[in-house]
Symmetry: C2
Subunit: 158 residues, 2 copies
Amino acid sequence: MVELIFIFKEWLYNFVKEGVLMQLYNTSQYAIRVLNFIANHSDNRLYSAKELSEVLNIPYKFLTKIMGILVKTGFISSIQGREGGYELNKPASEIKLIDILNTFNDDTDNESCILGIGICDSLNKCALHDQWMEPKSLMRKMFEETTLNNLTCKDCKL
Amino acid sequence: MVELIFIFKEWLYNFVKEGVLMQLYNTSQYAIRVLNFIANHSDNRLYSAKELSEVLNIPYKFLTKIMGILVKTGFISSIQGREGGYELNKPASEIKLIDILNTFNDDTDNESCILGIGICDSLNKCALHDQWMEPKSLMRKMFEETTLNNLTCKDCKL
DNA sequence: TTCAATTACTACTTAAAGGTAGAATTTAAA
DNA sequence: TTTAAATTCTACCTTTAAGTAGTAATTGAA
């Protein structure tokens, strides 16, 4: 019954306009999911774009575009040709979430203002500066300190 | 000297690609700034779009569009014609930031997933769920509990 | 009554994220 | 050697947020 309710909620969710309170880019989300999938599979083998696209339910053509960026920026290396695919280029413990976000411009320097008024610091605040400080720093800390091997999670959604 | 450095930083900032780690829509930012400005000015008078646009440095035409939405959704009321303008429709203490964000779809239900995989809760987690819980709830709490009269701030940037 | 300052409305343009198409290149297996 | 499965590259299309343009409607002051 609980299972049924969940399936219904999932289905219903497709019709609900998705809000974006402080969300990541789709590209960042995809990149994190792909890298996490490769990193946290014990078998040391290559993963093809086709397989990743199917398992993670990411549009194939869009995925290959993202994979190209991840190769160029050194997160993964690729083997071309038949039986080819992708593998991590460095240990999972050395890949921070913040680095992935930075790759897709999905980051901001620590002083940029939540209300969009240039630079915000203790001397030049926007009206929301004080209230925003704590949630912001916690969030940044999370992205800066979490690496792919902190994400190991049995039975997590992919 | 400190002042000079700040001006330089502000100027430099215009050339830096602005990142968007968990940012608000421009519309939301503008709306918060406008409502905050009207709410936290002691003189009980009407504010024209022209004045708001100049003081807050928001494109006039874009501002009037946003003001129209704020009127329709009941945050402010408008007086048309010469000497007309806008004023708050209810006490500042009754306007929560989260309500402003909701108006511009800049919000998400509490269960939506940071990695974009439908619904996330303790039974169906994404790989980042546990790490994201605390920063997220702090952030939501801030937007839900902060009202316009909590924002009173002398010498704050407008 | 005229006029200028204002809001309100409709439609369009621009910029950037999200996503797609197709063909070239690479390479191991058959 | 051929072929099929893979990455790579370039160019395009779609969607949405952001911003602009022009005009109609309203109304108080001169």
